[in-house]
């Protein structure tokens, strides 16, 4: 009996939400940024939905696909940085929290980060936000995006810390 009960526990599969309803999408777009457009309040619906863009493997996997499809790689490489800053080193010009990253992708940043508001849907921007946060995470997570198709150039996203080398703090 116990064994069967245990086996049945494994039947619960992670739910995949393939799309959000339009009102939910509008609500998800309603982040409340601080005046300097860094950090701010998460939309209430983000928490109400159970933060799927933080802990749902499907959403993170979609983010990973979009990171490739929308050529974030062209400027940020696999996270190590190129003409754009590194995303895996744990240091953020505009803050590590979801709202800052969401605003970065949606509205762009002055020194060369293009705005994606007209090229990605709100849902996709959140998927990317979640994925970018797993790239630079300092603690391990159980939800992970799909495996790399190419050779692995850094530790997998669900392993922490993501940064491969410990650098000295910036001396400013």
């Amino acid at each position: 009996m116990l064994l069967i009960a245990l086996a049945l526990l494994a039947c619960k599969r992670e739910a995949r939400e393939l799309r959000t309803d339009p009102p939910a999408t509008d609500a998800l777009n309603g982040v409340v940024p601080m005046a300097n457009r860094i950090n701010g309040g998460l939309p209430r619906i983000f928490i109400a939905q159970g933060s799927p863009y933080e802990n749902n493997a499907y959403q993170l996997g979609q983010g990973k696909r979009l990171y490739d499809w929308f050529n974030c790689k062209g400027c940020h490489a696999n996270g190590g940085g190129a003409s754009g800053p590194a995303l895996t080193d744990g240091r953020w010009r505009y803050g590590p929290d979801p709202v800052s990253i969401f605003l970065t992708i949606r509205d762009g940043r002055p020194h060369g980060m293009p705005a994606f508001a007209n090229r990605l849907t709100t849902e996709q921007i959140w998927q990317l936000t979640g994925y970018v946060r797993t790239m630079g995470a300092y603690s391990a997570q159980t939800a992970a995006p799909s495996r790399n198709d190419e050779m692995q150039s850094r530790p997998a996203e669900n392993r922490a810390p993501a940064a491969t080398e410990i650098r000295m703090p910036p001396s400013r």
Binding site: R16, L18, R19, R119, L120, T121, T122, E123
Partner: protein
């Protein structure tokens, strides 16, 4: 008796149609069809023989004896030799029949077919770069002209199989496979991805439309044109919406600023018979339904739901259905 008749009728229904190996419409398919029937015939005869001998053996069980054993050894020896012979003959036959399938013909029309989850990108090559052509989910070919298909895949393994024309061949990421076929009669032949490739594998069909060379050239010239300009104010609004929204990041419409390559080319989307890889017939209604909510129609596919107002949806569908 009636059951027999129904099952026979059902069986025969498989002998005609636009997606069957039993109605070959080209030399390659005819060869494969011949191979299939020879195998069925040879193996059928062997099966009958074996059954006959089995019945004999059961009916007249032999009394063990010295002479009987020697005879048994001879019979076993002869059977082994016969089996080996049959296998060799079948091997040679299948080699002969499939040898020509991936050999390039003289002066073929070269078409590149790339598999995506879950649609097909079709590229017509030409020595003149301005006559290169990209379309999706529908391959037009001239009757009687050898076609060389170069198969590749963008994400996972897919498989090309249009049974009326030619046998199966996989599309493999990072690799090119070649396939040669000729359509000998005009018609519409259906194919379907034949290698499981994810959630929407079952909704990944494509059509091969074989037409007379003149009709094919006319089709090709029409497809080479840029998208026709909008005629009504509504269509104009549809185009403006399309190029300023995420649609343009994924789709190309030649003649506009939309140049994305993540989804099917839509320059002449309304000239194609179906949308979403064979899922829906192309009408204004189906276009609007698809754009309004692609994830409910084909769950998990790679086109997101873009939020828009009913007016915007009407406008964009009015424009797209005009892209003949």
């Amino acid at each position: 008796m009636r059951a027999l008749a129904t099952s026979l009728a059902l069986l025969c229904a498989g002998c005609t149609g636009s997606q069957t190996v039993l109605a070959p419409m080209g030399p390659q398919a005819a060869q494969l069809n011949w191979l299939l029937w020879s195998f069925i015939l040879i193996c059928g005869i062997i099966w009958l023989l074996v059954m006959f001998v089995l019945v004999l053996a059961l009916r007249y069980a032999a009394v063990p004896s010295q002479r009987g054993e020697r005879r048994a050894a001879v019979i076993v020896g002869v059977s082994v030799a016969a089996s080996a012979l049959v296998i060799i003959v079948l091997t040679v036959m299948s080699y002969a029949a499939t040898r020509g399938l991936s050999v390039a013909a003289d002066d073929p029309l070269v078409i590149r077919l790339r598999g995506y989850q879950w649609w097909w990108e079709v590229t017509y090559t030409d020595r003149r770069p301005d006559r290169m052509l990209v379309t999706a989910n529908e391959i037009h070919v001239p009757v009687g002209h050898p076609i060389n298909i170069e198969l590749s895949a963008a994400d996972v393994i897919h498989s090309f199989w249009v049974p009326n024309l030619v046998g199966k061949q996989d599309l493999i990421p990072g690799r090119r496979n070649d396939l040669t076929f000729t359509a000998s009669r005009p018609g519409v032949y259906r194919g379907q991805c034949a290698e499981f490739c994810g959630l929407q594998h079952a909704h990944m069909a494509l059509l091969v439309i074989a037409e007379e060379p003149a009709a094919f050239e006319a089709w090709r010239d029409a497809q080479l044109q840029v998208a026709r300009p909008p005629e009504t104010i509504e269509q104009e609004a549809g185009r403006t919406f399309f190029v300023s929204q995420p649609c343009a990041a994924c789709h190309t419409v030649r003649g506009t600023n939309a140049a994305g390559t993540l989804g099917p080319d839509l320059t002449h989307v309304a000239s194609r018979r179906t949308i979403a890889a064979g899922l829906l017939e192309t009408t204004r209604g189906s276009l609007a339904a698809w754009i309004a909510d692609p994830q409910t129609i084909k769950p998990g596919n790679n086109m997101p739901m873009v939020t828009m107002t009913p007016e915007q949806l009407r406008a964009v569908s009015a424009w797209l259905v005009d892209l003949q």
